[in-house]
């Protein structure tokens, strides 16, 4: 069996229905030795819910198939059919209701016959036309030549490549965004680079490769930059690679206890990630997004590790193309304060505590508003927050605004028109929104989690306990004191600007360059 076992992988990153809807799959040798079925599962690309966005699934026995199989997706008017050359359809479910779509998500799934468990799953996007596909690919700016970040002060050996590896690469996720920016940084400096991830956004699947390809593509002069933020089966593959240098960048793993009620699957993944973290000690260089993350990493590596905290570089987890000279001007309101908080709707962010703090503030300023920016795939936590807002805290309608996921321009406008930033998160690796808020001149009021304190750099105002009444009174007093507020914002901006100047990519170039190794003793 290979490290990845039985796998059915598409030989192409996408599919055009107007071209006949033909697809080709590679079946690993293990498929033929396993008791599995091949299922082609098709959803609307914009609505992957069953049954609303589910067009259907088609199951084929793998017995008798070769290492390459071809098939075809055909259909119209919201109904599809799937056939496999040489494959006999064993079972299928086709949505009786028509499903209208612009694009499709086509998955090749291997399921164990006895237990029906998923053994492997790979998706590609499919479109009716090449124009639709090009439009889809354009969701990520593919101009990799225009300089945006720092210039590299070294030239790697000719023919060598930097392989950026992460568990998941999607644009709206902080880790994915960082990977893409580092990839852009390398490419703009003429350094050959690849991206690898177990999961990626479908619009990126033409540039993000699966880590199973690493062993075949990594050469002896290459470097691997591994982003560790959650459990990643490819870590085992990476540690086994023979190459010039392996670098791990640790984002910190969320405490599973903060996730287990609303997202037990993610909590379980984090638990596995924590167990896996000690393997990072095998890398040649280590870096982390904050000193707090370094402490976690050192603890995970154990007392017998060759690594010391001083050997681990702290590199901020963001690349910025420029730094503003001063915060945008703003005029504080005397009443009707507008609070903003930004982040994924995950239970470790403790948004219920933001609501509780805001509810306490409403007793002092009934016209206040709370803007919550961000989305999450967890309906359970969102339902809970609704219950907290309406039933438990009884916050009047119209006071809390759930803005969902918004683009960067809209986010900048919100930062500009808000009066203060609230953060009640209990576990962060860095907390980028705090940095953004400080750059926008927003006073930050936060619960004193360790990485939050570190990112604020002694600025802002941290609460050591979650006593919401006293905290609300403190915020109310501070917002009503223009002189102290101005000093607070000025201090925050100075710190944030200094931090931002280190975010031009130089930190990552240093990790990859030939300079003094920050590696372990």
């Amino acid at each position: 069996m290979s490290a990845y076992g039985a796998v059915a992988a598409f030989q192409h990153p996408d599919l055009l229905l107007e071209g006949g809807g033909t697809f080709r799959l590679s079946l690993s040798a293990d498929v033929l030795a396993s008791d599995v079925s091949l299922v082609i599962d098709v959803y609307d690309l914009d609505d992957e819910t069953h049954p609303r966005g589910h067009l259907g699934w088609w199951k084929f026995p793998t017995r008798g198939l070769g290492t390459t199989v071809s098939g075809r997706i055909t259909g119209d008017a919201g109904h599809l059919d799937v056939t496999l050359d040489g494959g006999e359809l064993a079972d299928s479910w086709v949505n009786p209701e028509p499903v209208r779509f612009t694009g499709l998500s086509v998955a090749a799934v291997l399921r164990a016959k006895t237990t029906n468990a998923i053994v492997s799953l790979e998706r590609i996007p499919a479109f009716a036309s090449a124009a639709d596909l090009a439009n889809f690919r354009g969701r990520w700016n593919r101009d990799l030549s225009t300089p945006a970040f720092a210039l590299a002060g070294f030239q790697p050996p000719a023919g060598s490549t930097v392989h950026v590896v992460a568990s998941s690469i999607v644009q709206r996720d902080a880790v994915g965004r960082l990977c893409l920016d580092v990839y852009r940084l390398l490419r703009q400096n003429g350094i050959d680079a690849t991206l690898h991830a177990e999961h990626c956004a479908p619009e990126l699947n033409d540039i993000v490769r699966h880590p199973r390809d690493l062993a075949a593509t990594v050469g002896p002069d290459d470097q691997v930059l591994f982003f560790a933020s959650t459990f990643d089966p490819s870590l085992e593959v990476v540690t086994g690679l023979r190459c010039r240098r392996k670098i791990a960048y640790f984002h910190r793993v969320t405490d599973p206890r903060l996730l287990r009620v609303f997202d037990p699957e993610l909590a379980m993944t984090c638990q596995k990630a924590l167990a896996q973290t000690a393997r990072l000690g095998d890398f040649d260089r280590l870096a982390a997004n904050s000193a707090a993350s370094v402490r976690d990493l050192i603890a995970a590596l154990g007392p017998r590790s060759r690594w010391h905290a001083d050997d681990i570089a702290v590199v901020p987890p963001r690349l910025l193309a420029g730094v503003p000279d001063r915060p945008p001007p703003r005029s504080p309101r005397t009443s009707g304060a507008r609070f903003i908080t930004v982040g994924r709707l995950k239970s470790n962010k403790k948004l219920e505590d933001v609501l509780a703090l805001f509810a306490a503030y409403l007793a002092l300023d009934a016209d206040a508003e709370c803007w919550i920016v961000g989305s999450g795939d967890g309906k359970a936590y969102r339902d809970y927050l609704d219950w907290v807002e309406r039933t438990e805290l009884g916050i009047p309608a119209g006071r809390v605004h759930w803005l969902g996921s918004i683009d960067d321009d809209e986010l900048a406008r919100r930062y500009q028109s808000a009066d203060a930033y609230l953060c009640m998160s209990e576990h962060e690796g860095f907390c980028l929104p705090l940095h953004e808020a400080m750059l926008h001149g927003l006073p930050v009021f936060a619960y004193a989690a360790d990485a939050v304190i570190e990112t604020l750099g002694g600025q802002g105002l941290c609460f050591e306990t979650k006593e919401f009444g006293p905290a609300a009174a403190t915020i109310h007093a501070r917002l009503g004191d223009p002189a102290r507020l101005a000093r607070m914002v000025e201090g925050q901006f100075g710190h944030a600007a200094k931090l931002a100047r280190t975010m031009d990519g130089r930190g990552f170039l240093d990790l990859l360059g030939p300079g003094a190794s920050p590696g372990g003793r």
Partner: protein, 738 residues
């Protein structure tokens, strides 16, 4: 309002002496000894107990005895610090541990458990602890012996058996060759437990207990559930919840197999136990490790959040005695999918519960039915929540409290003398139990400073702790017609005097065994200022002596005398630090000084209920005795003290002691004058109006100060005889009876 992760204590709406809601006359505040092997997890039995304690804690004195107690668990569920905690010895481990845990351990625990009005015991093997009166809720017979006897796992080559002795949290490992012999021995011993009242938590358990113990167990008190505070969230049709400890007989494996038979169901398994790894591996092998989640150490709010979203509660244990989680699922408005066996089936109805054979496919079918038909789930959930309202913890706690009250009344009926009321002054005597084993040993001329004696007791240089000494002294006390004995307990920086503690334990045990009417009231003698040492003594007295049937009570509380030198006067830090442990006693000072006019508050606050002289002959010259005694008697009353106390003494002479601290004392030698001094004291006391509650004799055997009345070679029984006549006169004047 936020729903707190910590449950608040339930305030008691009823006054302490009000009749309870069941019509049983209340005996007032009970001193309840709660016994449970472990109270460090939130299982069914623990929940049952905790919910009762939450409701009783403000109207009864409660002490929990357990090998391990989680303070955070109690705090989270609203049990306050007023509920005392006392440790029991740990389980045996190693060879034959199971047998020892079922035979010897209950007996060891018996010795560690203090005196209480009534005992409330949960879980095996508390029924084997010989305390009375006991209300015992075993929850289930030891299933290892009975219905699960042949369900144990054999390990390796089959020579070792993995056995679970519930509620012990880990396995015992037994040699297969002696397993049956150990079980037979255990079974014979198990059946001898016979608490006054055995209670079952379901009719099913009642039948099992009746069959095992050969006695009718017909008192069934179902557990309850909190019907308020559940969170209303939209149902996640994929999420199913199972709650329980991960033992084989909980059959979590059945539920995991059921999940594997569905396409998308997820299962949150809430609980811990030795099967965890095996179950995780099973989920992985079935390909559902991404759909089965094992969660431990959830707080109450987290548990409720999971239940609030679940499509149903799954429950599949083998013949569960009750299964409180089913009630909790109902109260959360969740449909129930459960095996059709166990006590909880007594509260289930088809409107909201699928009761099924123990087949994974049967469970999977109902899970998928609820996934397909959310409206059915909603209707079943509403019916479940409505049905849950009939099963409240308040009802459960009230019924259990009624059983404790009845047990108490039954026990009291067997001790009619205990109910008698005080009608005359009670006469007690200062008793020193510090004497060692013969001349030259402790306090028998062991040192010239404070151990020198000039007289020889008729009994010889006795050992105070020895049973025969105590038997002899008790006979003397009874012959004198005394009502109580005041054993002195000296406390210095190193703690209470261990020898005196041992003597006091023997004194009480022997008094009880000989069915003596004599009562005992300890006198604490603090030397130094160690609060920790005094608290240690107070805790020990509270736990082991204060509730003894032979301990002296006054005003509904055990009496504690204090040898009060005045060194701790106005030491408010001291009074504050001992307040919690001191609260359950009536405190009476026997001082070297007088109560302070009307200003005693400025010295000792309201700590003492009575204040009399310890050594009345040392207070003034002979001419002013009656005057100063009267001042002492009246000033105590003027300071608001309700417990009137007077002291008599035959004489005093400490001049043989070479203690420099005594050198300046004014009255070191007060002659006995052949009993005239003693008689003068008696006359004063007999003339007091109102009469005292307590008359104390200083002393029976303080030989160093020659204040003793114990028969000696020199004095014979003269003073004992005088004392007997004195008590007879008091009885004649004031009537008999305590």
């Amino acid at each position: 309002m936020r729903l707190a992760a910590t449950i608040p204590a339930i305030p008691d709406p009823r006054p302490a002496n009000a009749p309870d809601m069941t019509g049983t006359p209340a005996p007032g505040r009970l001193d309840i000894g709660v016994i449970i092997p472990l109270l460090n997890k939130y299982g069914g039995a623990e929940r049952y107990l905790i919910e009762c304690l939450r409701r009783w804690q403000h109207r009864h004195d409660i002490t929990i005895y357990a090998h391990s107690i989680s303070d955070s668990l109690l705090t989270e569920h609203g049990i306050g610090p007023g509920v005392r905690r006392a440790p029991l010895s740990n389980y045996f481990s190693g060879e034959h541990a199971m047998l020892l845990n079922g035979t010897l351990l209950p007996s060891i625990w018996r010795g560690e458990i203090g005196r209480h009005d009534v005992y409330y015991a949960h879980l095996w093997p508390t029924h084997l602890i010989d305390v009375d009166p006991m209300v015992c809720i075993l929850h289930e017979p030891l299933r290892l012996l009975y219905d699960l006897r042949f369900d144990q796992d054999f390990l390796g080559d089959g020579s070792v058996v993995q056995a679970h002795l519930y509620p012990k949290p880990s396995y015992d490992y037994l040699a297969a060759s002696t397993l049956e012999a150990e079980l037979r021995a255990l079974e014979r011993f198990d059946r001898i437990g016979s608490p006054l009242q055995m209670v079952a938590n379901s009719a099913q358990s009642a039948r099992q207990l009746s069959a095992v113990f050969g006695r009718t167990v017909d008192t069934v008190v179902h557990p309850g559930v909190d019907i308020d505070g559940f969170i209303d969230l939209p149902t996640d049709t994929n999420l199913f919840v199972a709650i329980g400890q991960l033992w084989p007989h909980k059959r979590i494996n059945l539920l995991i197999e059921a999940v594997a038979l569905t396409d998308s169901a997820q299962l949150a398994v809430i609980g811990a136990g030795p099967q965890a790894e095996r179950l995780r591996l099973m989920a992985e092998r079935l390909g559902v490790d991404d759909r089965v989640f094992f969660l431990t150490d959830l707080n109450n709010r987290e548990l409720r959040l999971l239940l609030a979203r679940a499509a149903a509660l799954l429950f599949a244990p083998v013949r569960e005695p009750f299964g409180i989680v089913v009630l909790e699922g109902m109260a959360a408005g969740r449909p129930i999918i459960a095996v059709d066996e166990g006590g909880y089936t007594e509260v289930c109805h088809p409107d909201y519960a699928f009761l099924l054979p123990p087949y994974p496919a049967a469970f999977a079918e109902k899970m998928m039915l609820l996934q397909r038909d959310p409206e059915l789930g909603r209707r079943m959930g509403a019916a479940a929540r409505h049905a849950a309202t009939a099963h409240t913890w308040q009802h459960c706690a009230d019924r259990n409290e009624q059983l404790l009250v009845e047990a108490c009344l039954t026990a009291k009926a067997a001790r009619p003398e205990a109910a008698r009321q005080q009608q005359r002054p009670l006469v007690g005597i200062q008793y020193f139990m510090w004497y060692g084993q013969g001349h030259g040993e402790a306090h028998w001329n062991d040192n010239p400073v404070h151990g020198y004696v000039t007289e020889k007791p008729l009994l010889g240089f006795y050992d105070s702790v020895q049973g025969r000494t105590i038997e002899h002294h008790l006979s003397t006390f009874e012959e004198m017609g005394l009502d109580f004995v005041i054993p002195n307990l000296h406390v210095d920086e190193s703690g209470p005097n261990r020898r005196e503690q041992a003597g006091i334990r023997n004194l009480l045990a022997i008094a009880e065994r000989r069915r003596s009417d004599l009562r005992v009231a300890i006198q604490l003698c603090p030397y130094g200022r160690s609060v920790a040492a005094v608290n240690e003594a107070l805790q020990d007295i509270a736990a082991h002596q204060a509730s003894h049937p032979n301990y002296l009570q006054h005003g509904g509380k055990p009496v504690l005398f204090w040898f009060w030198s005045g060194a701790l006067d106005a030491n408010w830090e001291f009074f504050a630090a001992i307040a919690e442990h001191a609260a359950r006693f009536t405190h009476v000072a026997l001082g070297l000084r007088l109560p302070s006019g009307t200003g005693e508050q400025l010295r000792t606050g309201a700590f003492f209920s009575g204040f009399g002289p310890f050594s009345p002959l040392e207070l003034a010259d002979r001419d002013n005795w009656e005057k100063i005694w009267d001042v002492a008697y009246r000033d105590a009353e003027r300071n608001g003290m309700t417990c009137r106390t007077a002291t008599i003494s035959p004489g005093y002479d400490d001049t043989a002691l070479r203690d420099s601290r005594r050198a300046g004392n004014a009255f070191r030698q007060i002659a006995r004058e052949d009993g005239a001094t003693y008689a003068r004291c008696m006359s004063f006391v007999e003339a007091l109006d109102p009469p005292p509650h307590f008359v104390t004799v200083s002393t029976f055997n303080e030989f160093h100060e020659n204040s003793h009345i114990e028969p000696t070679l020199g004095m014979g029984t003269h003073y004992v005889d005088m004392t007997a006549q004195f008590t007879a006169r008091l009885r004649s004047r004031h009537g008999g009876g305590l």
